[in-house]
Symmetry: C2
Subunit: 378 residues, 2 copies
């Protein structure tokens, strides 16, 4: 289904397909040079036409954040799926059903309780799961430290319980808090080193550990060497966003996702241009708030995508977004941004903004627009 | 479709139907006493079974924030619809089509540019719109001040252009920033007074102004007298949330919406219990951050809904939510909240959290669970 750009209903989630394609090729080429597989995290796009382009460019399988994403990918013929959130016991029947239908679904755990639940369920069902063990490489969120006694305990429990240990996996999520290339390189090296160390501990204990999976967009784009790593996972690199711009791993011309909005009013005394892109469209994500440059709810661009310096989506209600434009006299706003005028707003966080929309308006190099559906819910 | 509570997939959006019913009846009874119509804002629930209960309790028509909500309500037989976001010219054809199908759809404007676009389009189509004029009663967002010359200019333009002026409308959104009953009563009176004043200015100029529409949940629940007002709009009162709790217009036992989550891991050293309700489930809304009590990403309760004092959803990633529990020794967390354990999390902002889910798991007085669909997108 193709809609002329001028007739798009707003707010619309615009995806610049040529930019996305460049982003896909850039990281894939980097991973090829570093001699590791790339397993993109599809939680960013939740969109098959995007995932298909990642696979066509050379990606090996996908990473998912929900079993619904796994089901969706598998239904489209993608068999190699890593569910990279620690397994809840209640989801094991769904995982097994997927596996029984032919999906190579690997699951994740970082605890004795979690591993025990997997083993108990698998035994009761006469089944086997491929299980990754999560390693904490930066104190950011989940996982077991590489040196923790529990790492071997979990691995032994899984191995003796008849599970196939897929390997060790980590995500240096604290990379989002950095902005200096050297600091990013150091964290990427730490992520690699800690995960490889965990793998070596398993192997030294006589346990299998074929895979070493690491990754985040900032570290994937900063790592100088990935010795010992077998695959890298990254998600937001496919679109990039203002948070990644602040981290320093992309340029404004790489930002592939934006929200098309329409001006619906003004408060000239206050210098406000009111649009129909509020938080329902942008999400409430304020990821740039604590970064070096705070973009409020987003950077405002022309409908054609040119950055308007000093124009920000200053605040947001459900279906109202208030734009302020530094350096433009208030009385000129009415003429420059009249009611009905369209603007494009680049989001802080592509994963969060994308989730607010049922579909992308994917714009190709010729300016043609197609609807690409997005997965929603759990 | 009924799912046993114990088998609900998580994260799930739980709706306590008896609490919701009490909330509906409480505001309706108040509006009846104050002798005004209640026109609920359905942007909070975006859910027909909820809206039907509001209408059954005595509500007169609905308020919507998007034309998609209008279409959805009209398809279910609801004919009296107020679209309470300033009309974008590009949406006029859709509004006219709805009207031509028999919907009594009223639209809104607060500018000469907006009013002119409505008049021009209607004239070209040989049509007429029922138009509300938005009044700014508290400097919060959009609307024309009651005393502004432009108020009469817009009204005259609409009237001479052949439109039916429905009345004047305001929303004292700054009520969300208050927490003292007297301050709320004062703002409610200001909202009433300014909107009535705007109506009187129109009438004194010989212009029609049958309707005076005001409202927000905090002012609707605080107003002592609504003389001159014909209808009140309010949305979040149907579910309430932690922001409203801080404002002081509900009690914990009124909170009808929550997210059911499952524990998926721990970081005992840090006192973290990790759940599968991250920001994708809760939204990024941090509405209580600047209020008297900051609930982080939500108040943690038992699966049965009992408030666990000191337990907060401290931080959130896409599919990970980190719970901290003040006053409980870290080592006890593993026993008290083991992997697989379920918790219920009350959100900051019901409108934002609801939007993250395709459906409600509506729990009735008998504990039975039904799926109630939610509208999504534009």
């Amino acid at each position: 289904m193709s809609t002329p750009f001028e007739q798009l209903n707003t707010p619309a989630l615009l995806l610049d397909v040529p930019r996305m394609q460049r982003n896909i090729e850039r990281l894939q080429a980097r991973m090829n040079r570093l001699n590791v597989r790339l397993r993109p995290h599809v939680k960013t796009s939740k969109c098959l036409p995007v995932i298909e382009r990642q696979l066509a460019a050379g990606a090996s399988g996908v990473t998912v954040s929900t079993l619904k994403e796994a089901e969706h990918c598998f239904a489209a013929g993608i068999r190699d799926v890593l569910y990279a959130v620690a397994m809840a016991p209640g989801r094991l029947p769904q995982a097994l059903a997927l596996q029984n239908r032919g999906c190579r679904l690997a699951v994740l755990t970082d605890s004795v309780q979690g591993a025990q639940a997997i083993v108990d369920f698998a035994r009761a069902q006469g089944a086997q799961f491929e299980v990754w063990i999560e390693v904490d490489s930066d104190g950011h969120r989940s996982g077991l430290p590489a040196a923790a006694p529990a790492l071997l305990e979990v691995a032994t429990l899984l191995h003796q319980g008849g599970m196939a240990i897929a390997g060790v996996l980590t995500h240096a999520g604290s990379s989002y808090e950095l902005s200096e290339p050297l600091a990013l390189q150091r964290l990427a090296e730490q992520e690699r080193r800690e995960c490889v160390l965990a793998a070596e501990r398993l192997r030294a204990a006589g346990l299998p550990c074929p895979g070493v999976s690491i990754g985040s967009t900032p570290t994937a784009l900063s790592a100088q060497n990935l010795d010992g790593v077998t695959e890298v996972r990254a998600g937001v690199y496919v679109f990039f966003d203002l948070v990644m711009l602040n981290v320093g791993v992309c340029q404004p011309e790489d930002l592939a996702l934006s929200v098309l909005a329409t001006v619906i009013g003004h408060q000239l005394d206050k210098g406000w241009v009111i649009t129909d892109a509020g938080w329902m469209a942008m999400s409430r994500d304020r990821g740039t708030q604590r970064q070096q440059r705070d973009f409020a709810y987003g950077q405002v661009c022309t409908a054609a995508g040119e950055w308007i310096e000093g124009a920000l989506l200053h605040s947001a209600n459900q279906e109202h977004g208030i734009v302020t434009v530094a350096g433009v006299e208030n009385r000129l706003l009415l003429e420059r941004f009249p009611v009905g005028h369209r603007l494009r707003i680049t989001p802080n966080h592509a994963c969060a903004t994308g989730a607010q929309f049922p579909f992308y308006s994917a714009v190709n190099a010729q300016g043609e627009v197609e609807q690409w559906g997005r997965l929603y819910g759990w």
